[in-house]
């Protein structure tokens, strides 16, 4: 069955909250009802029908033809089914996702995968800052699922990561994995300054090191870790590149010893 398709009519006049357009919210609704759903974030009322041409289809497979940096909260709260965006998206894509699959064929803004607890988020372009991180006032970031970024990520990727796996094939900004509680963050390219800043537990894999490593991580030497093989097999279906990194000889840095110190940075041998 063909997907339920939203084709962008033109550049949005304001930032849009696309969180209502998830499979679970759209199931059982007619095209006319869907067209009435409000997406605006200002005093000017904007409905789905004004922004998109809607083509009937399976609500379990939602397709956005065309993207915009003003598409905020795409796939927010997604629990099952699939959403695909052919273009870029704004802030908080996949926030609070608990299942299903969100695929973005473009860049994503800040706080993608924020508070995510399950499912898969794939970003083919760059991801903005605080990928998987908590919003102000929240104590934990992402707590499950898998995030796969094909390109680069901004600062503080994996901030307060609690559980789950974040795979960044490109570079990452400063403070990647800052304040990590647990979980796994893999960065294929070079990381910015001070990855794992104040992390308590969890694993950060660096494929090409970092511009500056914190002195509060203790060098435990190079090892062939069985756990790394398990990680490699787990991430292989999502990212062959990340899987290859986990299979390399890995130097283990324990830290952050300025915090709990039970986390680790794994440096892949170049």
């Amino acid at each position: 069955m063909r997907p339920l398709t939203f084709t962008l009519r033109g550049a949005p006049g304001q930032r849009l909250d696309l969180s209502p357009l998830t499979p679970q919210n759209l199931a059982g609704k007619t095209t006319a009802k869907i067209a009435e759903i409000e997406l605006g974030t200002t005093r000017v009322r904007v409905t789905t029908g004004e922004v998109f041409r809607i083509r009937e289809g399976d609500p379990n497979a939602v397709l956005f033809e065309g993207g915009s940096s003003r598409f905020d909260r795409v796939g927010m709260g997604l629990s099952a089914g699939m959403i695909r965006v052919e273009g870029e998206v704004g802030v908080q894509a996949g926030r609070l996702m608990s299942g299903g699959r969100l695929r973005i064929h473009g860049a994503a803004g800040p706080f993608a995968a924020s508070g995510m607890s399950g499912g898969t988020l794939e970003i083919e372009g760059d991801a903005g800052e605080r990928l998987g991180g908590p919003l102000s006032g929240e104590t934990v970031g992402m707590s499950g699922g898998v995030v796969h970024v094909h390109s680069d990520a901004g600062q503080r990727a994996g901030d307060r990561l609690r559980r789950g796996v974040i795979l960044i094939e490109g570079r990452a900004g400063a403070y990647a994995g800052s304040r990590m509680i647990a979980g796994t963050l893999a960065i294929g390219g070079e990381a910015g300054d001070l990855p794992g800043y104040l992390m308590g537990r969890g694993t950060i894999l660096l494929g090409r090191g970092a511009t500056l490593l914190s002195p509060t991580f203790g060098d435990c030497g190079e090892h062939a870790l069985v756990a790394a093989q398990l990680l490699a097999d787990y991430v292989a279906p999502f990212s062959a590149k990340a899987a290859r990194l986990f299979r390399r000889p890995l130097r283990r840095l324990a830290g952050d010893l300025a915090a709990l110190g039970k986390g680790e940075i794994l440096l892949a041998r170049l």
């Binding site: 559980r163 796996v165 647990a182 796994t184 537990r201 694993t203 090892h223 062939a224 870790l225 069985v226 756990a227 093989q229 398990l230 990680l231 097999d233 787990y234 039970k262 680790e264």
Partner: protein, 303 residues
């Protein structure tokens, strides 16, 4: 008891009586097949009978590096006990003393589903003295315990099944010890090709089959005098004058079907060997059908 005959081997028209048990399975891996097997052999030592060992355990199969969670050679081990509590106790102590200690070892769940769960890494992790690390990948959670050769990786919890069966058996009788042993070895070899079963006695074979009770206080079981060839003339013997040696194979399986399949394979191997090179007669042990829920009639298992 009317005997059937297959390829010249007499088959008693009787049945094996088996019991419900709790069971679990683990996969032990190591850098080499030799060390995976070593850990498994050590762990399953002194695990022939629940009566004296607390559990019955054995190596079910050898796994190639393509068939294990961490891509290293492995061995699948099955453990059987009479209660969940005892199974937990045996699992924890045997993995803790025999697998954790074995060079390069790791330990994973060997059952994909079950009625309940047992603690594995969740219990052994305390050996890490606070340095242990948990890693959750999807639905699975592993513990990484630092040890002197690296890390012991161990799955946190594993499934158990309450549908397991213990006590399937074949009693193999022959005109000499050598021929009886040859037939029994052939049967065990065939049974080892069946999935989800173990034969927990030494090499899969027991020579000291037992009966319930004893003339001595405190002994719950004693020698099965009716099947002892040296007592043929002194007791109410189950053996004819032609029988000089008797061996038993005990089979534990994760399912009743697996036990039946193993018994069928073993019986076929004995029949195939024939009486000239192997056994003259095959029987099975039971308690009149009053104690065990599972009955395996030899006539139904004949090839």
């Amino acid at each position: 008891m009317r005997a059937l005959t297959a390829n010249g081997v007499a088959i008693d028209d009787t049945f094996a009586e088996a019991f419900e048990m709790r069971a679990t399975a683990i996969v032990i891996t190591a850098p080499t097949a030799r060390w995976a097997e070593q850990a498994a052999v050590t762990m399953t030592g002194f695990a022939t009978s629940v009566i004296g060992c607390g559990c019955e355990a054995g190596i079910e199969s050898v796994r190639s590096s393509r068939e294990t969670p961490d891509g290293r050679p492995g061995v699948r081990v099955l453990l059987f006990a009479v209660s969940t509590q005892e199974l937990q106790r045996q699992l924890q102590s045997r993995v803790g003393q025999c697998v954790l200690t074995s060079p390069g070892s790791a330990c994973y769940a060997g059952l994909e589903a079950g009625e309940d769960r047992l603690k594995l890494g969740a219990a052994i992790r305390y050996f890490g003295d606070g340095w242990q690390i948990a890693k959750r990948l999807g639905a699975r959670r592993y513990w990484r315990v630092p040890v002197m050769d690296g890390e012991f990786v161990c799955e946190s919890t594993i499934h158990l099944t309450k549908s397991a069966v213990g006590g399937g058996n074949l009693i193999v009788m022959g005109e000499s010890a050598a021929k009886t042993l040859a037939a029994t070895e052939a049967a065990v070899k065939a049974m080892r090709g069946v999935a989800d079963v173990i034969m927990p006695f030494p090499g899969g074979i027991a020579r000291s089959g037992s009966k319930v009770g004893s003339k001595y206080k405190g002994a719950g079981a004693s020698t099965n005098d009716a099947y002892c060839p040296t007592l043929k003339g002194a007791v109410e013997s189950a053996l004819g004058p032609e029988i000089a040696s008797v061996l038993e194979i005990v089979i534990d399986g994760l399912t009743s079907d697996a036990v039946a399949k193993a018994m069928r394979a073993g019986l076929a191997a004995i029949v195939d060997l024939g009486p000239d090179r192997g056994a003259l007669r095959v029987g099975a042990g039971n308690y009149g059908g009053r104690l065990g829920r599972h009955h395996y009639h030899l006539r139904d298992l004949l090839p």
